[in-house]
């Protein structure tokens, strides 16, 4: 598949790549967090004395913050709570010690006195019935959104068929193999931290805000990252490590153990979703969607999930009359955080399963029914955005053709399902990049780490190669820390190649403008390789880059040009919004997946036998990394579909923290996956590219569920499709 290895393959294969977990410094101390022992309680006291009594141990708590920090920090997000603890494991103090063992022992020695309060462990504890008008006053409601067009009830009354269902989805974890880890050092007023992060600049902003220090005094240097998937998208450990570095005057290493990764992880939490759809004459005439989303100990104003994710319970289907309402409900769990395509796979599972069910109840062919309602370019979304170039309908047709062939070949107890999903290439706030042209080639100077997907090391390199006309071997992507690199929002939201790529395009225009001036050429110039070095050519002249550099540029390594890209989204029709904030899409990326499953009718066990993914990518920038993203995303989706489920007790304890009881897919459970890219429906990225980091996970649970339904008739309304749930749906129990 890949003609030449990825540029990062070398250090990752020879053991020299340094990840956050590997960080080391002379004189380093190890840190540990002191966790709250209960999920909800009134904090009476935190006694650090027993920890401080251990030799070499330094302990800090809420009382020490005024001495250690110049400012006040964020009053909404204190580093250590002073009166109430809101989730199990919430840090109430932190310790540093000469060894990791001693740090753990010291953390355990701290006496935390908490008066337990009733634990809210579930959204249905708060709202056993759908919330009424008084709900907005509840302290448990973190966000409330509602939008509508038309009178859903009136249409329901006169429709031929109305189908109402309730679905439940589970909490899942990112499960990056590398736990969170960082190494902090505070010297001469600079709060410096090396860390495994997806967002160096985002982490810098968070750290500055949490510590109450000015942003320029914080320097974040990203290491190689052993997986992020959304879990390393904001500062988690860094503020504590920095605090201890300040307190001790030494470098401080803070790394989580794997159980702690699960317990402290910020990720997708459970939901209850009610779907109601009315059909007349084979067409959807009205839809109502209700979402109760558990957001854990999320802070006011920080919800992004409800207003964004709820769109995936409506689109990509047209509905003339609709009503959509969502509540983000606070419970005593860690805060909701982004997982790959946050909460979208769950929404798509619900939407596709529901529409499939609706069609069957109305006596219609489920796939033809869905195809008839899919958005096309120029359609309006429910919130009034115009759908841009969108390859979903084509992808769906390709998927249907393949599914027919697979069905014809399938034996008993087998079923084939198709699911579609869409995504939007996130912009973030935007990004900057610099291009540095030297005699040996071009370097993209930027502030994102390669976290694994290849979007930086390969994707951005591919864009730079296309822009400059140089071959890939002459393009390098360099990473610089937040003090030296140009700003970028982070590696998340499938935005990286698009955002930095756009910035590279801008930089490239600026570069060529400058080269034209230096060559004194009136027309176009381009770059080429001649006699082993890069030259600038116009119609009548050619000069090596070497000769065009100033003294200063020679010393700095080349000519630099800068480019900036500002994120922009579409706009929605605010008249349809009654409550809260909804988020527009920047572009429309489609995906259609086909799953063939085999179901063991005795035990309910589902095995995915083969899989195909059709992706609307705009323009394919780097085929090798694109295929890798699809394969990886599909398999991650299979985990969400079949085996992954974080189990919470009534007292807010995570019961299956750890890889033994939280099951991610293994090598033996992976089916062959056919990947097909559809180009031509342009997106927001350079050359019309669309982001591909997240779309591959989105349709997977739905495709598997629909295949199971086709194989057995079992209609499962919960995720994951464990063998027990399928057994129940098969009425085996």
């Amino acid at each position: 598949m890949s003609a030449s290895p990825r540029p990062d393959a070398g250090p990752k294969l020879d053991g020299t790549a340094v990840f956050g977990m590997d960080l080391d410094a002379p004189g380093m101390l190890w840190a540990a967090l002191v966790p709250s022992p209960v999920a909800h309680g009134r904090l009476r006291s935190v006694d650090l004395a027993p920890a401080r009594a251990l030799e070499g141990v330094v302990a800090v708590g809420a009382a020490d913050l005024p001495t250690l920090l110049p400012g006040v920090g964020d009053p909404d997000r204190p580093l250590f709570p002073t009166d109430t603890v809101s989730y199990r494991g919430q840090p109430v103090a932190a310790v540093a010690a000469p060894t990791r063992e001693l740090a753990r022992q010291a953390a355990r020695a701290v006496r935390v006195d908490v008066e337990p309060l009733p634990v809210v462990s579930d959204v249905e504890d708060v709202f056993p019935e759908w919330p009424g008008p008084a709900a907005d006053a509840s302290p448990h409601v973190e966000a409330h959104v509602r939008a509508r067009d038309g009178d859903v009830e009136a249409v329901f009354r006169t429709a031929e068929t109305v189908v109402r269902e309730t679905y439940r989805t589970s909490s899942i974890h990112q499960v990056a193999l590398e736990p969170h880890a960082c190494l902090a050092n505070v010297t001469d007023g600079i709060w410096h931290v090396r860390t495994s992060t997806q967002t160096p600049f985002g982490a810098r902003e968070d750290i500055a805000s949490l510590l109450g220090v000015p942003e320029p005094s914080v320097v974040v240097e990203g290491t190689w990252v052993g997986g992020g998937f959304g879990g390393k998208g904001s500062a988690l450990l860094e503020p504590y490590a920095l605090l201890l570095a300040k307190a001790t005057g030494r470098p401080v290493k803070l790394a989580l153990g794997y159980r702690e990764e699960f317990q402290l992880g910020r990720t997708t939490l459970p939901s209850v979703i009610r779907m109601e759809t009315a059909v007349t004459g084979g067409r959807v005439v009205a839809r109502r969607v209700r979402l109760l989303l558990d957001v854990g100990n999320s802070l006011p104003g920080r919800d992004f999930a409800t207003g964004y994710s709820i769109g995936f319970l409506l689109g990509p289907y047209r509905a003339p009359t609709f009503e959509v309402e969502g509540y983000a409900v606070r419970t005593n769990k860690p805060p909701f955080g982004p997982h790959r395509a946050p909460f979208a796979p769950q929404c798509v599972f619900v939407l596709e399963s529901h529409l499939d069910h609706v069609a069957r109840e109305a006596g219609l062919d489920p796939e033809a029914f869905r195809a008839a309602h899919l958005w096309k370019e120029g359609d309006r979304t429910p919130l009034g955005q115009s759908v841009g170039p969108f390859g979903l309908a084509s992808a769906f047709e390709r998927a249907r053709a393949l599914a027919s062939r697979w069905r014809a070949e399938a034996g008993p107890d087998r079923g084939v399902g198709i699911a579609v999903g869409f995504w939007s290439t996130n912009s973030g706030a935007g990004g900057e990049a610099r291009l540095r042209l030297a005699p040996s080639g071009v370097t993209v100077v930027q502030g994102e780490r390669e976290i694994g997907s290849g979007s930086v090391i390969a994707g951005v390199a591919a864009v730079a190669a296309r822009c400059t006309g140089l071959s890939r071997e002459l393009v390098r992507v360099a990473y610089e820390d937040t003090a030296r690199a140009p700003f970028d929002s982070g590696v998340f939201g499938s935005r990286t190649t698009a955002a930095i790529g756009r910035a590279v395009q801008e930089a490239s225009c600026a570069l060529f403008g400058e080269l034209r001036k230096r060559l004194e050429a009136p027309g176009l110039v381009h770059l080429a390789l001649a006699d082993g070095e890069v030259v600038v050519r116009s119609e009548h002249r050619q000069r090596p880059v070497r000769e065009l550099l100033t003294e200063a540029e020679r010393a700095a390594g080349g000519i630099e040009a800068s480019g900036r890209h500002f994120g922009k989204g579409g706009t929605i029709d605010e008249r349809k919004v009654e409550v809260g904030t909804f988020y527009p899409y920047t572009d429309f990326t489609g995906a259609a997946h086909v799953a063939e499953v085999s179901v063991d009718r005795g035990t309910g066990t589902v095995r995915v036998v083969r899989y195909a993914a059709f992706h609307d990518v705009g323009t394919l920038i780097d085929p090798a990394t694109a295929s890798a993203q699809v394969e990886g995303g599909v398999v991650m989706g299979l985990g969400t579909a079949l085996t992954e489920e974080a189990l919470w007790s009534d007292d807010g304890r995570l019961l299956n923290a750890g890889l033994l009881d939280y099951r991610i897919p293994t090598l033996g459970s992976v089916p062959p996956i056919e990947v097909t890219f559809l180009e031509g429906f342009a997106g927001a990225g350079p050359f019309g590219a669309k982001g591909l980091g997240e779309p591959p996970i989105i349709p997977v649970p739905a495709a598997v569920a629909l295949a199971v339904r086709e194989a057995t008739g079992a209609h499962v309304t919960e995720l994951p499709l464990s063998s027990e749930r399928v057994a129940r749906a098969l009425k085996l129990l």
């Binding site: 598949m1 890949s2 290895p5 990825r6 990062d8 393959a9 070398g10 250090p11 990752k12 294969l13 020879d14 053991g15 020299t16 790549a17 340094v18 990840f19 977990m21 590997d22 080391d24 499960v175 990056a176 193999l177 590398e178 736990p179 190689w224 990252v225 052993g226 997986g227 998937f229 153990g257 794997y258 976290i451 694994g452 997907s453 290849g454 090798a624 990394t625 890798a628 394969e631 990886g632 995303g633 599909v634 398999v635 991650m636 750890g658 890889l659 033994l660 991610i664 897919p665 293994t666 090598l667 033996g668 992976v670 062959p672 996956i673």
Partner: protein, 157 residues
């Protein structure tokens, strides 16, 4: 209690003093020997990121006490290229794009080298893949790793 520990590590003799009896081999390799290529993942034998070879046999270093392998010959990712089988595996992974974030990669390479030594180079791909089930990967979806295994040369170099 602490005791001296003698190891042959990637062909080099190493003598360590005062190694606690309770120390895991994973920590000895990473923090005393400074070889960070062997990764710490779950620390409970579930993920395989800590896999290295002890006397040519693949072993989970997080579940092995350092003193249990006193006197043994260790091979870590830093030394795997000393062996033609190791280089072949590294090469196959690079060509197949069988890595993304790279965190599981050393564990997979060592596990596979161990299998090739144990089963021989002609072991069928399906069996090799079945025997790699103890190594987890979250990024690649395993298919590129399977392609790397399938592409391994089956004769002597």
């Amino acid at each position: 209690m602490r005791h001296p520990l003698r190891l042959l590590v990637n062909g080099e003799r190493r003598a360590l003093e005062d190694v606690p009896d309770s120390e895991r081999l994973l920590d000895t390799v990473r923090w005393r020997l400074g070889l960070k290529g062997t990764k710490e993942g779950c620390r409970s034998g579930e993920c395989g990121a800590c896999t290295l070879l002890v006397d040519g046999v693949s072993t989970l270093s997080c579940l092995t006490l350092a003193h249990e392998v006193d006197g043994a010959s260790l091979t870590t990712i830093e030394g795997v290229a000393r062996d033609p089988v190791g280089r072949t595996v590294q090469d196959a992974f690079a060509r197949a794009g069988a890595l993304q974030c790279g965190y599981c990669t050393p564990g997979f390479v060592l596990a596979l080298v161990g299998l090739l030594k144990e089963r021989g180079r002609t072991a069928p791909t399906e069996e090799l893949l079945a025997d790699l089930s103890g190594n987890l990967c979250r990024c690649t979806g395993y298919l590129a790793i399977a392609r790397a295994v399938a592409a391994l040369p089956r004769e002597d170099p």
